[in-house]
């Protein structure tokens, strides 16, 4: 850690002090862990009865299908969000004010609205009572996630196009390409490369947000988890198992995003956009 801005390389006295801190920290951590295990055991949380359901094939099967539902909801939402993002991202870059302004308003509106109230709108306006071809809750979750993540991706997309060197579009115009050609042949393919890691990171957000579907009884891990703990009264264990499944999926996505960042973008900073037009307007974060 000699290359830290915070402190110089430690001398002999400091190293002794650090060793002392390490010993204290380890002692505290071990004591806390031992206490936690004893506490959980005392409360009967470590008994076989509490964990047994997670070894039964029937339950595992149900959890597996819930996981597939969760993943398919997130996947469908991201695919739709990419389409939404490209349409409104290009819309925000348009030369025509009558395209630019509505795109701006749509993106800003859905970026600043909580996903949960979007879900409530979708479900209670159109999804309830057999709406959305009988899959009301499922489609409501997908559409709500599409609107929110699509609005974020529109911004990512716009930032991606703007991050390209100006010479790219100038050269394209110079050889006689039209506006649409410049966008589709020259700018889009390069922007996609820059935005891919940000897109995968957005998948993590979408996957986590599928959990909110529980509020409108959409299928998925949180809904099934709730059913299991209501039936088996093993709230802690179910919460741990469901959380672990989410964490594993998200870590896999994060690894993919990091790998893509390294492969496609190199050492340049990952693309980041603010949460609103106001916060994203500053040049420092668009660097």
């Amino acid at each position: 850690m000699s290359s830290s801005v915070l402190f110089d390389s430690p001398g002999p006295k400091t190293r002794v002090r650090h060793r002392l801190y390490t010993v204290i920290a380890v002692a505290v951590v071990v004591a806390a862990a031992v206490w936690l295990v004893m506490f959980l055991d005392d409360k009967g949380q470590l008994t076989d009865a509490k964990w047994h359901v997670f070894t039964l094939t029937d339950y595992l099967n149900v959890i597996w299908h819930a996981l597939l539902d969760t993943l398919s909801m997130a996947g469908a939402a991201i695919v739709l969000a990419v389409i939404f993002g490209v349409v409104f991202g290009v819309g925000k870059l348009s030369d025509h004010a009558f395209v630019r302004w509505p795109s701006f308003l749509v993106v800003e509106f859905f970026r600043a609205t909580p996903v949960l109230i979007l879900m409530l709108l979708m479900f209670f306006q159109w999804g309830i009572g057999g709406g959305f071809w009988g899959h009301g809750p499922y489609v409501s979750v997908v559409l709500a996630l599409m609107l929110y993540n699509g609005a974020v991706l529109a911004e990512v997309f716009r930032a991606g196009v703007l991050s390209l060197p100006k010479g790219q579009s100038e050269a394209a115009y110079a050889i006689g390409m039209r506006k649409t050609q410049v966008m589709t042949i020259v700018l889009l393919p390069q922007a996609v490369k820059v935005m891919l890691p940000a897109l995968i990171s957005q998948c993590v957000v979408a996957l986590k947000d599928t959990s909110l579907g529980m509020y409108i009884v959409a299928p998925g891990l949180t809904y099934i988890g709730r059913q299991i703990y209501i039936e088996q009264r093993n709230q802690l264990q179910t919460a741990l198992v469901i959380s672990a499944l989410y964490i594993i999926c998200n870590l896999i996505l994060t690894v993919i995003a990091t790998w893509m960042q390294r492969r496609l973008v190199g050492t340049k900073k990952p693309l980041e956009v603010g949460m609103t037009a106001l916060a994203g307007a500053n040049p420092t974060s668009a660097k």
Binding site: F124, V204, M214, Y229, S243, T254, A279, T284
Partner: protein, 217 residues
């Protein structure tokens, strides 16, 4: 719509709860984030690992599951059985958000060029002076944009509390849509505008902080 406007005090009190939840969670997650980032970039390896593990696990857990731990699982262990709902909501949102605050602060520290600290040491500033006058002001300034994003996301995330029965804005929206199913869209727009005002206030605050701290480079 008449129902909503004649009961508009209910809308306002719901947003007041949302604001309380957001402000309290903001304070606690800022404090938690500072502790976490101190552990994460400090010299003690054990604390570094601990903070990294906590941040990695919690960042990848849905907020709804964090709420489940606090509101559903913890009471079975005898914890938080008499804690007020608002406080439990603040605990859940803060436990989740402090990991993002930690990352925002860490990215700020990482933007400070190492030459700054080296120059400070070279002219004889002590460790504390170095942090106080050179590193932390620059690090904080660089953290403002990601911190703003974090707090905007947090303000919107307080809506999850509705799932667990906290009568904040989202909960109240569902109450009104249940009673007036014919005007769901308009009720949605009223509540969405409420959230948008909150969010834009936070981003305006962030922008102000950022402008104020701007240094010539």
């Amino acid at each position: 719509m008449h129902d909503v406007f004649s009961n508009f005090d209910k809308v306002l009190s719901a947003f007041w709860l949302t604001i309380q939840l957001a402000v309290l969670s903001g304070i606690f997650s800022l404090l938690g984030g500072i502790v976490l980032v101190a552990m994460r970039i400090g010299p003690i390896a054990v604390l570094r690992w601990l903070a990294t593990i906590y941040v990695t696990l919690v960042r990848n857990t849905p907020l709804l599951m964090v709420f489940t731990f606090i509101f559903v699982a913890a009471p079975t262990l005898g914890w938080f059985t008499t804690t007020p709902f608002l406080l439990k909501g603040v605990i859940a949102v803060s436990l989740y958000t402090c990991t993002f605050v930690c990352e925002a602060l860490r990215s700020g520290v990482n933007t400070v060029p190492i030459g700054q600290a080296e120059a400070a040491r070279a002219i004889g500033l002590t460790f504390t002076q170095n942090l106080r006058h050179i590193v932390l002001p620059q690090a904080f300034h660089a953290s403002v944009p990601p911190l703003t994003s974090t707090f905007i996301a947090m303000a919107k995330n307080t809506s999850v509390a509705a799932v667990f029965g906290l009568a904040e804005a989202t909960f109240r929206m569902r109450y009104f849509t249940n009673r007036n199913a014919d005007v769901t869209i308009w009720i949605f727009i009223i509540f969405a505008v409420g959230y948008i005002i909150l969010v834009e206030l936070i981003s305006a605050g962030g922008l102000l902080l950022e402008r104020r701290g701007k240094a010539a480079r």
